[in-house]
Amino acid sequence: MQCELLYQPVSTMAQIRLNAGEQFLVEPGAMIGMSANMDMRTGLASSNQGGGGLLGKLATAAGRMLTGESFFQNTYTAQNGPGELLLAHTLPGDMAMLEVGQQGLKLQSTAFVASTTGVNIQAEFGGAKTFFASEGLFLISATAQRAGEHLLVGAFGGIQEFQCDGSLVIDTGHLVAWDANLSFNVTKAAGGWISSYLSGEGLVCKFNGQGRIWMQTRNPQEYGTLIGSLLPPRTN
């Protein structure tokens, strides 16, 4: 699998090149175009670690639905030779190809666009306090058995990578992904609920440890609120 990111950073599209027989798992709706030899199948978004039978598959798929991802996932296979796949997410913003690595990655659920077939995707409870955040109660946990497995993520705005050395606070609406070895908890931005609300920061994610964090430079909820409030009311 080779990936080239084009039209960065606002209208980013991923041009994926697959070798003959290679597969790629893609979130429904993300495909813009593909070479004619690509085969597409829709299946339950199941854990690729096998086992569990139908029940296990259903559980994984249901977990994905909790994260806001689709219950179903499309598998693209390059048949009879190399193939090409053009992928993008819907909001204006950048994309990045992240290696899952030994420690695994955690994702804010809407960031997922695609992955190599060796990546195991699971829904994970983000802690009770995330319930109050608009970003949702569940996170995606991505793990891989071997090196070289990748995730394609999409963001709103630019993607800024930085290193957490010790401890760090980030607005939950700006999170894209982070190394799974970082510990985190979602907490109020200020001492009390009212001052947290008034600060406009609401909930933040407090990270501890050593690892990388990818943030999006704009918050989709804030953007939606900004534009939405300028529009006439809707009736339903």
């Binding site: 175009g33 030899n37 085969d39 597409m40 409030s229 009311p233």
Partner: protein
């Protein structure tokens, strides 16, 4: 005339420079950004009332178009689309037409004739519009779209494009609408119907859709008869 496209891909604008007096550029209404004051503008319904009305109703273009005429060499005009997005300039050879998705036409040489082209059941079933704009003739053609515009060279093996992302394609291509991955994909896989292009030519796709952004923002609109959002605490802020 010669031209260049600047500020790609998100805020693209075309700068057109005329090489001789009497040269003309036809520009979609409201697409002119700036021009030399000596350029003469004439507003007309190209193709007469019937032709213009047909283009507007069926091809999504405006009823009127403006023709700018140079009074001397070196005069310039800037044209741009409405949405934040890319532009492409294509030199038409007088042989092959170009088909443009509704609303993406920006400007063209006066030697290019625009007409609406019925896409038949294909357009209806693929979710692309029933009609596309057909450009025939010779000279530069300017097209704009929301997002980036990505060219795909289609060879004998063909290429598959999601119908909602088509910006334009050259006349050497044919397409048919087909299903990918069976019925399950159609209803559950979020892709369903795609356009399978074959022949020899270029298809241009947009990397984002304005409709998708609008769908994202829509739920944030206030609900009628209710307070905006947070209720009590909103009064404080």
């Amino acid at each position: 005339m010669h031209y260049e496209i600047r500020q790609r891909p998100n805020f693209s604008i075309a700068l057109v420079t005329f090489d001789a007096p009497g040269e003309e550029l036809v520009v979609e209404a409201a697409a002119m950004v700036a021009k030399d004051s000596a350029l003469v503008m004439k507003t007309s319904m190209r193709g007469g009332l019937l032709g213009a009305a047909k283009r507007k109703m069926l091809g999504g273009e405006s009823l009127f178009q403006n023709t700018f005429t140079a009074s001397k060499a070196g005069e310039t005009i800037w044209v741009a689309p409405a949405a934040e997005g890319d532009m492409l300039a294509f030199d038409m050879d007088g042989v092959q037409p170009v088909y443009i998705s509704s609303g993406n036409y920006i400007a063209s040489s006066p030697d290019i004739v625009l007409d609406s082209s019925f896409q038949g059941g294909k357009g209806f079933f693929s979710g692309t519009s029933l009609f596309m704009l057909e450009a025939k003739g010779r000279g530069p053609l300017f097209i704009g779209s929301y997002g980036g515009i990505h060219p795909i060279q289609v060879g004998p093996e063909g290429y598959i494009v999601d119908n909602y992302h088509i910006v334009a394609f050259t006349g050497g291509l044919q397409y048919n609408v087909k299903r990918v991955g069976g019925m399950k994909s159609m209803f559950l896989g979020g892709e369903g119907l795609v356009c399978h292009f074959h022949g020899q030519g270029t298809v241009w796709v947009a990397t984002r859709g304005a409709a998708a952004l609008a769908r994202f923002i829509n739920p944030f609109r206030p609900t009628e008869g209710k307070s905006k959002s947070g209720g009590l605490l909103d009064m404080v802020s």
